[in-house]
Symmetry: C2
Subunit: 158 residues, 2 copies
């Protein structure tokens, strides 16, 4: 009975470890995200979902369908169609009919959109460097590798 | 000149390291969050902001003001007043006038809200254990400590 009890105590301690870890991870991510949201608003008068959408398009010069865009966006709080409409009205992105399937279209950056994103991205990268300066380069490498391992587990199990 | 150049190359490599780390951190957090959102919807017909709000109240049995609630919520996508109204209508939370300041009120869990949250929380904790099983207990401890260090840096610098 005492062995059972130990096992249960250990299992429960492990459970709490995972939960505590997740809450800490979430609180750090939220804190960084909040800072980025705040600074994007102050410096560029824009939002994180808008920035995130431009970033995805910058990584895919051939354009993305609305569905692909939705799947790739990493932050919540934005309506993909609504944001795309706004960015199109501002001349930063454009919708193009796909030659092989005239019913669907892809979204791409315009040259103006690319220029504006690059300007914001350079500043954004500086903020990230500053916010993560609490870790040494060696610690950053360590966390990066640990996250690779977690990502693989999540890929295989979700 | 070659020393300057090396310094610049190194700085740029470090910049990219921080950015890559942040993107990986964000993608892991988003993946876990998406899973939790999906499972909360399927299993309990509820949303992550609702669950998060109940969780904050469970941690503060004396109740929280709306302002304190907003500050403590860790996930986005919810309107605190709107969610509180819904949960109050369902009898899971209640608003109480504070004796010392009749203009403001605090939000608390009702006994029914506490029971419902506890049932969801136990299942939720199991999901978190499963999603983070990609790390050994020793690795979880390691990440937990590294995050503590990052959190301190963020606290001092934001």
């Amino acid at each position: 009975m005492s062995a059972d009890f130990d096992l249960e105590t250990r299992a429960s301690a492990d459970d709490h470890q995972a939960l505590r870890l997740w809450l800490r991870l979430l609180s750090c991510t939220t804190r960084v995200e909040d800072q980025i949201r705040q600074r994007l608003r102050q410096e560029f008068g824009t939002t994180l979902p808008r920035f995130d959408l431009l970033a995805q398009l910058e990584r895919h010069p051939d354009g993305l369908t609305m569905r692909e865009l939705s799947e790739r966006l990493m932050v919540t709080g934005g309506n993909v169609t609504g944001i795309t409409d706004q960015l199109e009205a501002e001349g930063l992105v454009l919708r193009e009919t796909r030659p092989e399937d005239r019913r669907s279209f892809i979204v791409r950056l315009t040259p103006a959109g690319r220029r504006q994103f690059k300007r914001m991205a350079a500043t954004h990268e500086g903020w990230i460097v500053e916010l993560f300066a609490g870790w040494t380069p060696a610690q950053k490498t360590q966390v990066h590798e640990l996250l690779a391992q977690l990502k693989m587990h999540l890929k295989d199990n979700t």
